[in-house]
């Protein structure tokens, strides 16, 4: 026996109908989990569901337009909120990764509660998957990191939670997404707190711009090389901006610039991972392009840690 996506879809659509007898909103980031949850909830609730996407200012290049298009294609009733200023203001000066995650989680809920009130919804559907609550800890389980959609929720939250994907992992969600014809089924995972956890240290719009530009290059080069069959596309691949400045030489002039780490891992479920054996010529192109095209970055390093002992994300 293995996982049966069709049976899972039927089960969960019924379960959502029972769990949410009234109106509901769904927090949708455009990733595989929340988009899949949105389609399941939309099947169960139809017009009683409103999908809310928040542009936090911490999203990847072109992401907001892409998510709007996906939701339109899937005919899910939705709303796009622009809240970059609010997020950057809340994160100003914060360096502790757990604080960042909690602040972002609280901010999301604040916005969702506002939207829920306007839509007259009592329920919040989320695309929470197993690793989110496992890693968030509780009782005996140690907290590895605060997933904003679990441990980032305020205690006095009024909305009632509905989480159809709680017991499944990413590979299983992808199987469900394929069965539902969701275009983003194969998209790489992206953390809810977005680029805020890919800027080690305090988060500013300038630093987020740097890591966004570097990440776009990592994604393009790795996807191109994978399409050309040079190596299997990793499970996840991105750039992290480090709080380290180093010396470089640009056109015979000393520079003192930022460092980014390139992270690429192979995994099935996100609960264990090996670093991807990205060919050197691909790393070379990534390094040359980032240091030439992203002004302010003069050094690129490659992360060769597995999970465990490291985690996939740096924060």
């Amino acid at each position: 026996m293995s996982f049966d996506p069709k049976a899972f879809i039927a089960e969960q659509v019924d379960a959502i109908r029972i769990a949410a007898p009234g109106k509901a909103i769904i927090a949708c980031s455009g990733g595989v989990d929340s988009t899949t949850a949105a389609v399941l909830a939309s099947r169960a609730l139809g017009e009683r569901l409103l999908a809310v996407y928040v542009d936090t200012g911490l999203m990847r290049k072109g992401e907001t337009d892409d998510v709007a298009r996906t939701l339109k294609e899937l005919r899910v009733n939705h709303r796009i909120l622009h809240a970059a200023d609010e997020f950057f203001a809340a994160l100003r000066g914060v360096t502790d990764p757990e604080k960042k995650r909690t602040i972002i989680g609280n901010k999301f809920i604040e916005l969702f509660e506002r939207e829920a009130q306007a839509f007259d919804a009592d329920y919040l559907v989320q695309g929470t998957i197993a690793p989110d609550w496992i890693e968030s800890g509780g009782q005996l389980r140690d907290r590895i990191k605060t997933h904003h959609n679990v441990a980032g929720l305020p205690e006095n939250m009024k909305l009632k939670l509905v989480e159809p994907l709680r017991d499944v992992y990413k590979d299983e969600v992808r199987a469900v997404a394929r069965a539902l014809d969701v275009r983003v089924a194969e998209r790489q995972p992206f953390p809810g707190p977005g680029l805020a956890v890919r800027v080690v240290g305090d988060v500013t719009p300038e630093k987020v711009d740097l890591v966004r530009a570097a990440s776009a290059i990592v994604e393009q080069e790795i996807e191109t090389a994978a399409q050309e069959g040079r190596f299997p596309r990793p499970w996840q691949y991105f750039a992290v901006l480090l709080p380290v400045q180093t010396v470089g030489v640009h056109g015979d002039v000393r520079v003192y610039g930022h460092t980014v780490a390139v992270r690429a891992v192979d995994s099935v479920d996100g609960m264990s991972a090996t670093y991807s054996k990205v060919p050197h010529e691909v790393l070379d192109r990534i390094s040359t392009r980032i240091t030439n095209e992203v002004h302010g970055i003069n050094r690129v390093v490659f992360d060769v840690s597995n999970k465990p002992p490291a985690t996939i994300e740096w924060e």
Binding site: M1, R141, S272, P308
Partner: protein, 190 residues
């Protein structure tokens, strides 16, 4: 076949449940303070790993001891579950000289039904600070890794097994075969 997973707070407890589910077993995760009376009709138990350091914090292991003493069917202890099984039955566990995190290799020294059909050496995934330092009476060590002598043990007569590595993790080779072999033991003992 009904096999429950006793949750000792591990990161991979839910993975154990998933592997058992994929093998077609009726399975459920239960808290480690569930009364033994609630385990009626259960054929076997998996004692999960966990954040608890069993040597330092045995109270966090709930009723694991009662399960080991009075549960009739086969029991597979993993990581903290394995270490607890050793200490509870008179052996010992202590902080490892070299804790292992991530990739390692085990060498099988003693053929056993648990490793039937597997090569003598294969890649496993580890995540532990403590290890079994003294085997309990009646147990034999089955496998070791370069940094840990007791990677696997079993009781000579009772169907009690302990594994220091994590067979439930996707990256461990032959993990699901090890669970399947454990289920064979369960079938034979019902």
């Amino acid at each position: 076949m009904r096999v429950y997973v006793v949750d000792n707070g591990g990161q991979w407890t839910h993975r154990e449940w998933r592997v058992l589910k994929y093998l077609g077993v009726d399975t459920k995760i239960v808290p480690n303070d569930s009364p033994v009376s609630e385990l009626k009709g259960v054929d076997a138990l998996v004692l999960s790993g966990g954040a608890p350091r069993v040597g330092i914090d045995p109270e966090k292991m709930g009723k694991n001891g009662e399960y080991i003493d009075s549960f009739d069917g086969p029991i597979l202890g993993i990581c903290a579950g394995h270490q607890f099984m050793a200490t509870h039955l008179g052996g010992a566990a202590a902080p490892a000289k070299v804790p292992e995190f991530g990739k390692s290799f085990v060498q099988i020294h003693q053929p056993d039904i648990l490793f039937q059909g597997l090569p003598d050496r294969f890649e496993v995934w580890e995540s532990h600070n403590d290890e079994v330092t003294v085997l309990p009476k009646g147990f034999v060590a089955l496998a070791s890794s370069p940094n840990c002598d007791v990677q696997a043990m079993r009781h000579r007569d009772r169907p009690l097994f302990g594994l220091q590595f994590h067979p439930e993790v996707e990256h461990t080779q032959f993990g699901s075969d090890i669970f399947r072999n454990f289920l064979t033991v369960c079938e034979e003992s019902t």
